[in-house]
Every structure is written in structure tokens, then in C-alpha cells.
Subunit: 227 residues, 4 copies
């Protein structure tokens, strides 16, 4: 298995990046390169999430990463490429975590709980990226044409379908009542989770991150009409 195919797998979320790094079989040189690449991406993430794509210069990234500017261009064709790699890599971490969460749990309610917990955990442990992605997911897609956006969107729709299928299975197993459109409910759940977590992010004093992730589920499921 080559380095690049491993990277590919890591990026598409099939393998964790850490797994790639663990491959002690990799020659020292390759490991070193991967670490450098990672340091550049980290510097990029830090700066992009603080100031946005257009307000960060390649010089700044080079300085933050403590490399010469030319070195950045050894790893990434251009600024866009660096940004794209960065977003893809982070998104893959998220995708892997969410997919895994939805697959684990005794019953459907447990699966949803796990999903919310995963969102919660990723949100808190990857704040800079959350800020970056929410800030620019669409903003940059104007210039970073199609490509990135297309792929991420497709991936997101697949996740929604996975959530929807949990609802469907829950209906069959009589865990939920009649749900007219599971897909739309998935959309609603997902957006509610985001909105709530963003609320906590925006105003930590007023809306502290809840001790118990289930809080979010409760919020969502309290939405019941009486008559």
C-alpha cells in the first residue's frame, strides 16, 4: 500500500490520519514529510479560522508554520490547494466520527444519542475548524469553484440519508411513531444540533455547553403540538 493511497483513504475518511502516521513501516523521510505537511495544514487552519481565506497570506502561513514560503509550494500547488486539502482533511475526520457514531448503539435512539455526542465532541475538540467551516463553507466556494464544495455536499447528503435510515428503522421497530418524511426530520435534527452548538459557541456565558449531550435531543424532541 503506497503512501499516497493511504493519504487518499485518510482523506476520504476511510482510515484515520493517525493510522497513517502509525505505519512505522514508512521510511523516516516519508514520515518527516507527512509531519511537515501536517504542520503547514495546522498553521493554515489556525490562521484561516481566525481571519478567513482571503485575509491570510501565504507568507503568514509560512511564518506560522516556520517554513520558508517556497516549502509550502513543495506540498501544495497553490493557496487554494492548501485550503482545499485542509478542509477535506478536517471534514474527513468529522465524517468518520459521525458515520461511526451512527453505526454504534443497541437501538435507534442509542444511535441518535451517539450521533449527537459525536457532534458535540467534534465541535468542542475542533473549534477552529468549526469556525472556519461555518464561516466560509459557502463563501469561498465561489472562488474555489465546484470541486471541493461538490464533494462535501454529496458527502453531507449521504450523512443525512444515514440519519434518515435510522429514523426509518426506528419506525419499523416501533420506537418512533409515524414520521411522514424521515429525511426531512434528519435535516431538522441536524440543523438543530448545529444551531444549538453554535449558540453555545457564540455566547458561552449565556448558553454553556451542556453537561449531558442528550440535552440537545431533548430540545429537539420537545417539539410536539398538543392539539
Amino acid at each position: 500500500m503506497t503512501l499516497s493511497s493511504l493519504l487518499e483513504a485518510a482523506i476520504t475518511g476511510l482510515v484515520r490520519f493517525e493510522t497513517v502516521m502509525q505505519k512505522e513501516k514508512l521510511p523516516r523521510r516519508e514520515r518527516e514529510k507527512l509531519r511537515q505537511r501536517q504542520e503547514i495544514l495546522t498553521a493554515g487552519l489556525t490562521l484561516f479560522s481566525e481571519k478567513g481565506f482571503h485575509n491570510v497570506s501565504m507568507h503568514e502561513i509560512a511564518e506560522e508554520a516556520e517554513f520558508a514560503i517556497g516549502t509550502l509550494y513543495k506540498f501544495f500547488q497553490n493557496k487554494e490547494d492548501l485550503y482545499r486539502a485542509l478542509v477535506l482533511e478536517q471534514c474527513s475526520l468529522f465524517a468518520a466520527a459521525f458515520n461511526e457514531a451512527l453505526e454504534q448503539g443497541e437501538d435507534e435512539i442509542e444511535k441518535l444519542r451517539n450521533y449527537v455526542r459525536a457532534q458535540y465532541k467534534m465541535f468542542r475538540s475542533h473549534l477552529p475548524f468549526v469556525r472556519l467551516f461555518i464561516a466560509e463553507s459557502r463563501g469561498v466556494s465561489y472562488s474555489i469553484k465546484a470541486g471541493l464544495d461538490q464533494e462535501l455536499r454529496a458527502r453531507y447528503y449521504r450523512l443525512l440519508e444515514k440519519i434518515a435510515s435510522v429514523f426509518e428503522s426506528g419506525i419499523r421497530n416501533k420506537r418512533f411513531g409515524n414520521i411522514a418524511s424521515p429525511y426531512h426530520l434528519a435535516v431538522s435534527l441536524d440543523s438543530t444540533i448545529h444551531a444549538f452548538l453554535l449558540l453555545c459557541l457564540d455566547e458561552p456565558e449565556k448558553h454553556p455547553f451542556p453537561e449531558d449531550p442528550d440535552t440537545i435531543l431533548n430540545i429537539f424532541f420537545q417539539g410536539m403540538l398538543n392539539g
Copy 2:
């Protein structure tokens, strides 16, 4: 009442822009200036929503608005200022529409219906701005430091509270069952509306805009656990 205080009021959504324009008391000169200002903002909205803040130059805006570049700087201190004014103005339209909707309707359910309808209507009639705002609301706010974002956030929180108070009143009037945290439910409802409308925006073929705005409410309220 001065022109600038009227403008201020219009921008914060207390008075409609049309109202300001109707004031035939305004000398012709002032009316003319307002119209020019508006033309620049419209040109800006068109371009920004198409290409994003950083990919539009002041020259382009000047050309689109058919003014000399110097003229733009007569009305707005700089590019950021123009952008800010543009977003504020549009947001005020939205705020006015939403607040009005929440105030009209026999009972609480009707108020919520009106709110969803207003969102629906504004969304469809102001697509360019929706695109712009969703695309960049946060992206640019990093560079357009504090200012804009702060104010809009505060305004948004006020809106959420207004929705929450509808829920509260609904509980008191026994229209809804027990709702543990009306504010959070408001967050959930609002984000669900947005997510759903964005879905329709992203993939119009797969998710056409619903004939009946109530569809969205139904989606939201189907979220009921059985046991």
C-alpha cells in the same frame, strides 16, 4: 427629524425604507442622494451575492451602478462600509417582515404559521441576499470586525426571544403541551426552517420549494418520540 436619523431608524428596522422615501418633505436634493445611495447598494448586492465580498472590486460596483468610483466614496467610507450598509439594510427588511409576522395571527399557531410564511416569502424574494448572507455572514465578519456582526447577532437573539415568547404564551393558553425550554425550541424551529429552505435552494430538482409553507411546520412538529 434629520435625514441621517431617519436612515438610522430605517436601518434598525423600526421604519421602512419606503417610509423614508415617501417623506416628500425632503428637499429634492436629499431624495436624489438617497436614490443614488440605493442604486449603489443594489449594484453591490448583485455583485457580492454573485462573487463574494473579496472577489468584487470597487470598480466593478461603480461600473454596475453607473457612477464614478469617487462617487462611491462620497457615500461610503470604504468597501467595508458599503458592504456593512448593504447587509444591514437587507437584514432590516428581513427583521421587519419577521417581527410583523409574529405579531399577526389569532392564536400562537397562526403566529408561527405567519412566521414560516414570512421566512418563506423573504427567502424566495431576496435570493441574492440570502445567498450572500449565508455565504459570508460569518466569513466576512471576521475582517469586518465586530461592528456589523455584533448588532446583527443581538437582533437575531431578540427575534429568537420573540418566537420563544410565542411558545410560552401558547403553553399558557394550553395550545402546546409542556415545553421545557421555549427558547431552545425557538432555536430549533428557526434552524429547521433555514435548513429546509437551503435544501430547496441547493437542490431545487430534488427538493422543490413546497406549495404550502405549512409543510415546513409539519416537518418540524413530526419530531415526536413514541416511548
Copy 3:
């Protein structure tokens, strides 16, 4: 007649640039622009002829021309465009002078004399460009693909044909003996003139520019085999 069509005509050598400038009908603003454009071209010619296309930066040209760098880009899309305009303009001067020379003169010999005199005169009065063109006529054409080179080459071939036709007419009028291939003789004459003038350019002490331009013709026509 518009400014740009005048410029076009000047560049293709149909009208002299001075003629364009004389049009006192041109609004002052247009005249001013033309003068600036000319100053930039002059600065470019000076520097390019001294150091070659790739060893001159746009900053240098800006400094030499005493303009800000941005101003250069108002007149020329990029460095290549500036270079191209420069070469075309100068070539047009040469083309005009040579064509005119070949058309004036009682008989064919007189025409050739005029041609040599014109070469001689242009050579001496446009030394920087001669240096530039000879230095780079082909060198730059690698990067400044086709375009410029194609056109100049075509124009040069037309000139050769004109010279050849003078030889032909001279044969018909019994001024020259039998010339097997007038076109090739034109090539030979032209290259001889260039070589001789370059010799004088390279080593002015050893080969001073001749007082009498006819010297070059004599050199050329001394090439006679005896047996």
C-alpha cells in the same frame, strides 16, 4: 476617425505616429494619454535594449518612466503586451521608411540607393531598438508565442518581395544583367546591409560608419566572379 483607429494605422505603418500626434483635433486628455503611453514605451525601449526582455522588471520601467507601477497596467495588459506594442511601433517606423525609400527614385539603382540610405539612417537613429530587435527578435518569440513574430515575419517577407521586384524591373529595363533569382538576391542584399551595419555597430573604431551610404552597395556589387 477615432483615436484607436489612428493608432492602429500608425502601428501598421500606414500613418506616422507624429501624424497622429499632430491631430490637434484630439481632446487635450487624449493627447496627454498618448504622450504618457509614449513615455512608457520609450522607457521600455531604453531598458529592454540595454538588458533584454527578461532582465527588465515592470518596476524598473515604471521608475524609468516616472510613473507608478499601476499606471503601466492602465496602458498595457501585461509586460508582454508592453513589449509587443513597443516592437510593433518601432517596426512600423522602419517599415514605413523602407517602403517609402523603395518607392522613390528615378531608376531601380536609385531606389536601391534610397533603400540602403534608409536602412543606414534608421539604423543610426534608432540604435537602441536595433540592438533590442537583433538581440531578441527570435529570443523572445519563444515566450511571446506566435502573434508578434508571425506578423513581423510576414511583413519582412513583403519587404523582400518589394526589393526583388525592383531587381525584376531593373532587369526588364536592362539596368541589371541576368539575375537568376531576384528574390534570393534581395535576401542577400538585405543581409549584407545588416551585417555591414552591425559590423560598424560592434566595432565603431575599426569599421566606422561610412560617410557615403553607397559604400554598402559597392561592397555588395563587388561580388563578381571572373571566370
Copy 4:
């Protein structure tokens, strides 16, 4: 005799490069080095003649020559040095061929014929270098200050004098009529040869390379006035 002095001699055209290589006295190591040097020069010639000095990077040359970039700097101080060596080496081949040609032949006319044939042969067998040299002989010499150009020019003047001396000897032997300035005639002949061969190079369809090299001499000597 040291390696470097042999190289020197080879480069100035006094000894053929093959001669240097034949010296089986050279230790294997030295022979190996020479071969490597040669491979680098060949790679350089290929690339420079295709794209011009400034459009070829040292990395490209290293790749084409299948050496590491550092290795190139073991043989040549810098890019300029490599280019200079390359041009000098090729020029030496030309010089050797031309000098030899002018020395062989029964009479003066035969010598000139041989010279033309040599030009013709070298031209066709070293097209890449011809292209490179004609394209950039002067263009680069501005930046590759003095040095190269000075030497080549001197060598060229010596060649011209050699041709002139053939004319002179031809006059003495009554093979040519009265020639006022043999040196200038040499210039004329040489430039005519070049111009004609270039013509064939530029437009092979219109001006095919002649079967018989004497064609060029005929062209040159047809330049005879009648009266």
C-alpha cells in the same frame, strides 16, 4: 597535460572534443566525469534551444540529464556558466569545421565551396544549436556580460579574415577580378549564407534546403551590375 588544459584547448577549437575523449590515458574516473558533463550540456542544449535561456530552469535540466540538481553545480558554477560552456563548446565545433573547410580545396573557389558546404552541413546537423544561437546569441549576451560574447566575436572576426584572405589570394591568382575590399566581401558572403539558410529554416516548404550547396554561392555571385 592536465584535463582542464585539454578541455580549454577543445573549447577554443584547437583540438576536437573526441580527441580529448580518446585519450585513454585519462583515469576512468576522469572519463566518467567528462561524460557526465557532456550529458548535462546535451540536456541543456535540448532545452535551451526549445524554450530559450530564461524559460528553462536548472531543475528541468537536471531532470532531463537525469542528475540531481546539486550535481549540476559540481560541474558549473551557475546557470550562466552552464550556458556559456554549452555555447562555447558548440561554437568550437562550428569553428573547427569552418576553418578546416577553408583550408582544403585546390583553388580559392574550391575553398569557398567547401566553406559553404561546411556551413550547410553544420547548419543542418546542429539545428537545435543554430536555433538557440540565432535566437539568443545577442539576447543573452547582455546579461551574460562580456565574457562569452567577446570571445566569440573575436573568433568570428578571425574567421572573416580567413575568408577575406581567400579572396585576396584569389585576386593574386587572377581567379577573381578586382575586389576593392575583400574583408567586406567576406562579410557579405557570410551573411548571405546565413540569411539563405535561415530562410530555409523558417519556411521549409517555400524555400527548401537546396540539393546542391553551390546554389548559395550562385545566389551570392549573381549580384552583378550591368552598367
